[in-house]
């Protein structure tokens, strides 16, 4: 559980990039992915994403569960679009090629299929980049990066410290849950939903109280070692920007600009094959 979707140190050039670079890359990439519906651009982006995923040596077990979850969400999204506006594609591309009449006023059109295919592509161009960003960025190095681009180090550190204590809280949660179950409080699917929700409170309260104790200790410990003394701080795990960082930043900016130019060249966000 605790290993799921967390930073895993490996030695690839992607891991060695600074957190700033990866953050910038991920943000720009997502913006373009959201703006463009141009199939050619999306296909190129998808190809790049897959190459990056491969080079980052990300393993399926690190991201598998979350990927399946996203797929479910994607399927739901595609289905809903069709249910609510089955002729969105026809409107966008200005033609209508019927494939199959389903029932009532639902007819499957080539245009609609192509439109939804584009949406699916958008998901697939962004997902690998998000996953890569999460599993290849060291959280404290990320905090250092946020600080470097002008965000207060207290905010950056809040992220790092939360990640530090997540496994501890997870561990406490399991321990408390077991102890309460042993006292006869049913948390499994044998009880109905309402009882289970009510019973969850017997875990939540002890968890909150013991976490509050911990917060006291942690904040004292941080203060005793001078956290918050100065306006600035340095970072043990901070990385200065290197050649690869500059190259990546230049690449992503050039790529994004040209992608947008290609997309909007004919005045529409859509690529029309019809």
């Amino acid at each position: 559980m605790s290993r799921l979707l967390t930073y895993a140190p490996k030695d690839t050039w992607i891991h060695r990039l600074s957190g700033v670079t990866k953050l910038l890359f991920f943000l720009l990439w997502s913006v373009v992915g959201m703006l463009t519906y141009d199939t050619r651009v999306l296909l190129v982006m998808l190809l790049c994403s897959l190459v990056l995923y491969k080079t980052s040596k990300t393993e399926w077990k690190q991201v598998g569960t979350i990927f399946k979850f996203i797929l479910l969400f994607l399927a739901l999204n595609l289905f809903t679009i069709f249910a609510i506006s089955p002729y969105q594609g026809t409107e966008v591309y200005g033609t209508r090629t019927d494939l199959l009449h389903l029932f009532w006023h639902y007819t499957l059109t080539k245009e609609q299929l192509f439109y939804e295919f584009n949406i699916m592509l958008k998901y697939f161009t962004v997902i690998p980049v998000v996953l890569i960003f999460i599993v290849t960025t060291n959280p404290s190095e990320f905090a250092a990066s946020l600080n470097r681009i002008g965000i207060s180090y207290r905010a950056g550190y809040a992220v790092a410290i939360a990640l530090r204590y997540v496994p501890d809280v997870q561990h406490d949660f399991t321990k408390i849950k077991h102890a309460q179950e042993a006292r006869g409080i049913e948390m499994s699917s044998k009880a109905n939903l309402l009882t289970r929700l009510k019973n969850m409170s017997t875990i939540i309260f002890p968890l909150i109280f013991s976490s509050m104790d911990r917060i006291d200790v942690v904040s004292n410990a941080m203060e005793l070692r001078g956290f918050g003394k100065n306006k600035k701080r340095t970072w043990y795990s901070g990385k200065p920007l290197q050649r690869n960082d500059y190259l990546s930043i230049v690449f992503v900016i050039v790529f994004c600009v040209s992608a947008l130019v290609v997309t909007f060249y004919d005045g529409s966000r859509f690529y029309n094959p019809f």
């Binding site: 006869g184 002890p206 942690v218 005793l224 600035k232 340095t234």
Partner: protein, 572 residues
């Protein structure tokens, strides 16, 4: 020489309290000294530490009178940050103190806050990691470290700042005996190498005295009750009056009627001069009554050839086999991470064994769910704050009964009965938050007892408790065991507990059952003690050095004698 810490007529009262916690303290500590501060919980010994590092009055506000200087500065003016350059504090909770995501980052934390350049940080972190021997672990996350390793990282984290004073707040509380011994050695080495002033706040006197200290300061009810060399303190009766446990061999010598003299250097049992006392000890040994033989009853819980691994191929427990008889009180001991908690998880059904079986009253319980097992096996967690989920004492004790759907009439009767047994009846309408830690512990025990379990499993029942509270909790459990015939299994690394209160000790080391014998035999066996990270009892050395060859018989008689003394106290 200029003192490095000086309290003069110092009185301190927390804002939230009516009475002052420290009264008229006069203390002088010189640079390079190693001082041990002892005192029962609530005596004010932690407050002294907080005054020195500046947490008082900044994090814990209150009013002070008199004066306090630390390294030529006044903590009340400098604040926590101002003092952090002079005083390094190692907290009791090593998990809470571990702030970084890796060892290296945690050590560097103070340097980062000081805006030290990265290159210099690397060098300084490396140097200090070398001193505390964690250099190989620099890239590790806290979850991959043992308790002892985390504590060494904490030490490195404050030493990296080159502080003049190192302040240790109960450094032994969360460590097994052998790891604690190692921590004390390390503190000693650091002091010799860097000539840092060392203050150790701890109530486990015998364990700290493993290495020499220059002075011991006893704090009782907010005042300095004694401030003297260790040999003088051990010969007097201040410790007993303040409710602090003496080293066991000192108690044994006193039982034998020996009047200890400081010239015989009683600080270490291995080196003290025993010639004046040996004859008296031998006489006592011959006269002391033998403990009665335990009667065997039918087995209550049987663990048969248990194997378990979280990850296939990396077994946590292998071939574990032992029995608990009805009405017994036994301990499961072993070093931190040996698999003791896993064993209780297996018994309670939180995880399932790969092989083997657990029988309760002769029946296999493999098919029973956590809840079904919970009707017969009661589990009390180490930290009461992790168990208590209702604001009122009555509701907390009634929780399990309500979950079983018992009628409110019967619940009331049962809860009141249980509260009476646990000595909590007068508090029945109180909120839990008004109770002390020890009383909360009793509430959790009561909430389990109300369910009428056949067997009670307690995880570290006395962790972090001073001698007085320890005795209170343990006497209470003993009474439950003797008068109410409740079978009790305790998971612990407290050797005093196993020696004084349990009939049998099951020793687990590296996932295997190492011994299943009387605590006196286990703790006088060097080989077992070494493998299980226990420490052989000082009674062993005392017996051998006094010419008694059967050390375990000596330990057994001593324990029996002690129990009788306590029983008389209790009945009186």
């Amino acid at each position: 020489m200029e003192p490095i810490i000086e309290f003069r007529n110092y009185t301190f009262k927390y804002r939230s309290q009516v009475e002052p916690t420290l009264r008229d303290i006069n203390l002088t500590i010189y640079p390079g000294e190693k001082v041990l501060i002892v005192g029962p919980s609530g005596s004010g010994k932690s407050t002294i530490a907080h005054c020195i590092n500046g947490l008082v009055p900044f994090s814990f506000p209150g009013e002070a009178q008199g004066s306090l200087t630390v390294g030529g500065k006044e903590p009340a003016k400098e604040g926590v940050f101002g003092m952090s350059k002079t005083v390094g504090t190692v907290l009791q909770d090593t998990d809470g103190q571990f702030i970084g995501l890796t060892v290296a980052e945690d050590i560097a934390f103070a340097l980062e806050n000081d805006c030290v350049e990265q290159e210099e940080m690397f060098a300084r972190v490396d140097a200090v990691a070398e001193i505390v021997d964690v250099k190989k672990l620099l890239g590790n996350a806290p979850t991959e470290l043992s308790g002892g390793q985390k504590q060494r990282v904490s030490m490195a984290g404050v030493m990296v700042d080159d502080v003049d004073i190192l302040l240790f707040d109960e450094p032994l509380a969360n460590l097994d005996p052998a790891t604690g011994k190692r921590a004390i050695s390390l503190i000693d080495e650091i002091q010799k190498k860097k000539n840092t002033t060392i203050l150790i706040i701890e109530h486990r006197l015998e364990d700290v005295l493993y290495k020499d200290v220059d002075r011991i300061i006893v704090i009782g009810e907010g005042r300095v009750a004694a401030d003297c060399r260790p040999e003088e303190l051990l010969c007097g009766d201040v410790l007993e009056k303040q409710g602090i446990r003496e080293p066991l061999y000192v108690t044994a010598l006193k039982h034998a009627g020996c009047a200890l003299a400081p010239e015989t250097h009683p600080e270490h049992v291995e080196t003290m001069e025993l010639a004046p006392y040996a004859q008296q000890v031998r006489n006592w040994f011959e006269k002391a009554p033998l403990p009665p033989k335990e009667k065997k009853t039918e087995p209550m819980l049987e663990v048969l050839d248990l194997d378990f691994a979280y990850i296939t191929g990396r077994p946590v427990l292998r071939d574990i086999r032992f029995k608990i008889h009805k009405g017994e009180m036994i301990s499961v001991v072993g070093k931190n991470g040996a698999g003791k908690s896993t064993l209780s998880n297996l018994i309670c059904g939180f995880v399932n064994p790969d092989n083997g079986a657990i029988l309760l009253g002769g029946k296999d319980i493999a098919g029973l769910s956590i809840k079904e097992r919970g009707e017969k096996i009661g589990l009390v967690m180490q930290n009461p704050n992790q168990m208590i989920s209702k604001p009122m004492i009555y509701d907390e004790v009634a929780l399990g009964l309500r979950a079983r759907g018992v009628l409110e009439e019967q619940i009331k009767e049962k809860v009141y009965d249980t509260l009476k047994i646990c000595g909590l009846y007068p508090f029945r309408n109180w909120p839990v938050s008004a109770l002390s830690f020890g009383q909360k512990k009793r509430v959790t025990i009561a909430s389990i007892l109300a369910l009428d379990p056949d067997i009670l499993i307690l995880d570290e029942p006395t962790a972090g408790q001073d001698y007085r509270h320890y005795t209170e909790i343990m006497e209470f459990l003993k009474e439950l065991n003797e008068k109410h015939h409740i079978t009790i299994l305790m998971i612990t690394h407290d050797m005093h507990l196993m020696l004084e209160y349990t009939d049998r000790a099951v020793v687990i080391a590296d996932g295997r059952l190492l011994a299943d014998d009387t605590p006196a035999k286990v703790l006088t066996n060097e080989e077992i003690a070494r493998q299980a990270y226990l420490k052989k009892t000082s009674l062993y050395d005392l017996a051998l050095r006094c010419g008694i060859s059967d050390a375990s018989a000596f330990a057994e008689r001593f324990i029996h004698y002690e129990r009788e003394v306590r029983r008389k106290c209790r009945d009186y």
